[in-house]
Amino acid sequence: MSKDMMRAFELYQPDSVENAVELLGRFGPDGWAMAGGNDTLDWFKDRVKYAGSVVDLSGVEALQGIRETADGVEIGAMTTLTEIETSALIQERFSVLADSARRVASPQIRNTGTIGGNVCQDTRCWYYRYGVDCYRAGGNSCYADTPQGQNREHCLWGADRCIAVTPSDTAPALVVLDARMVIVNGDGEREVPAEEFFIGPDIDIERMTVLEPGDLLTAIRIPNDWAGAQFYFEKVADRNTWDFPLVNIASAMFVEGGTVSRIRMAAGAVQCVPRRLSVVEDIVTGSAPDEDTAALAGQAAVRGATPFNYNHFKIPLLENLVKRAIRDS
């Protein structure tokens, strides 16, 4: 079987959100919204996923660009990661998002890869990507959660048949910033908080987000609540380019009079969804962001982690990243 040639599909290039949503609604499960195409075409070339009708969103002007609104910033879903990384507005107010975008994949991928595509991408579990009939693919087993399973990249929390993790670098930053995801379908527009946008296998094992066939993520709205906070982002991966995170961390905090008045923190690649570290937030609020607080928060952050055969290393890794986020931001 050829693995480089894609199966034939029809390509549609709408020029407005209305037309895009109409097309996606018409095609339903056979439709595929394509943003930058970097991940989409990999799926098609590997012949693991297929859609007969691909809707290319690159011609929809309204999905592009970064706009200032009355109470924050709105980022079109088709805005490239390079644009976000280099935007003066994002760097000034929400530098954690610019820092996370800069760590995604490679320069060329960031030039075409979009923020919408980055948060909507599917998991990187290699068994699933290889096309086996695992739970997430509609089958009835998990190949990573077996005595021989290679699960170095897999989860510490939230396993429910599937043990895959979120691959996104920007998602933890958006959770920290309390971003709102704007979703449009044939029935109109709705806003979902970033924290609820991502879903685990306990809710739906075949999806990573609340998006259903016919839904289109059109924009991400970031309120000014955390503008100008002390931010921290760090990603640990095997290679500095291309690789997905082994663990990444994003945090935002305000320090007043030597103590932390407000803090939000989230980690990626330790669960199927970006993991909000509420326990860390509770411990740190009201304390000085010093070495002792950081140590305590780090220990608390990893409580309850359930590793598999090859991913124990993620526990001290996450602990250290939490410490750094508090101490060094």
């Binding site: 034939a8 029809e10 075409l41 990999d42 098609f44 691909v54 490679s106 991928i109």
Partner: protein, 228 residues
């Protein structure tokens, strides 16, 4: 071409006159205005025609076996702006830019390494921005200025400063990743003519070199920045 007379004798076409190199199939058709069927028969009999077409179009063989439904989607005949020229080309809806450049337009300077956006050999510039052409559908770049390594040549055939610097610094080893490295470097230097070595390293980080000649490539980029 050995048995021309036998092969075409069934369709009553005279054999080519001896000494005319342009005889053979095309010559025969030119003389009698043969039917399409005869032409196809003739092409099949001509090994030379088949093998050269195979080099240019062979890579697309897998594409043509399946027919997509044709309702409402994109038009296949499009114009592309490649290296400053308008090129008319028939593009399948699911065809990548690397495929179009290499196998439809004959611009084989652009290499296909991984075909998965993981190596950088296929890097081209879209409106001056470096992009993996293996992971870009051709139909999505109809309105963009596409530049490939062939487009770097000067009016009198001289090399681009980046190319010259790569020769001077012995940048490439095996050379397969070089067109991609060149295009990534050109994109960098056009947006930032005097990068630091670290900035250059970051900008070139989307291009793998299996020979591991990364430092040589970096030396080349820094030399090109000074010479430009």
């Amino acid at each position: 071409m050995t048995d021309e007379k036998t092969l075409v004798s069934g369709i009553d076409v005279p054999a080519p006159e001896s000494g005319t190199d342009g005889g053979g199939v095309l010559g025969a058709i030119g003389r009698v205005g043969a039917s399409r069927r005869q032409f196809i028969k003739g092409v099949i009999s001509s090994g030379a025609a088949v093998s050269s077409a195979g080099y240019v179009f062979g890579g697309m063989a897998g594409c043509s076996t399946e027919q997509a439904p044709t309702v409402g989607g994109v038009e296949r005949l499009i114009s592309l702006n490649v290296n400053g020229e308008t090129r008319r080309v028939d593009v399948l809806p699911y065809e990548t830019l690397a495929m179009t450049l290499r196998y439809k337009l004959g611009l084989t300077g652009t290499k296909l390494g991984c075909d998965r956006a993981e190596c950088g050999a296929c890097t081209v510039l879209l409106d001056g921005v470096s992009t993996y052409s293996c992971s870009t559908l051709t139909h999505t770049v109809r309105n963009r200025a596409i530049r490939t390594v062939e487009g770097l040549e000067g009016p009198n055939g001289e090399l681009h400063p980046v190319q010259q610097a790569m020769i001077d610094e012995l940048g490439p080893q095996c050379g397969f990743c070089t067109p991609g490295q060149v295009m990534a470097a050109v994109a960098l230097l056009e947006s930032k003519p005097n990068p630091t070595r670290d900035e250059a390293r970051f900008a070139m980080s989307g291009n793998l070199c299996r020979c591991g000649a990364y430092d040589h490539y970096l030396n080349s980029v820094m030399r090109a920045a000074q010479s430009a």
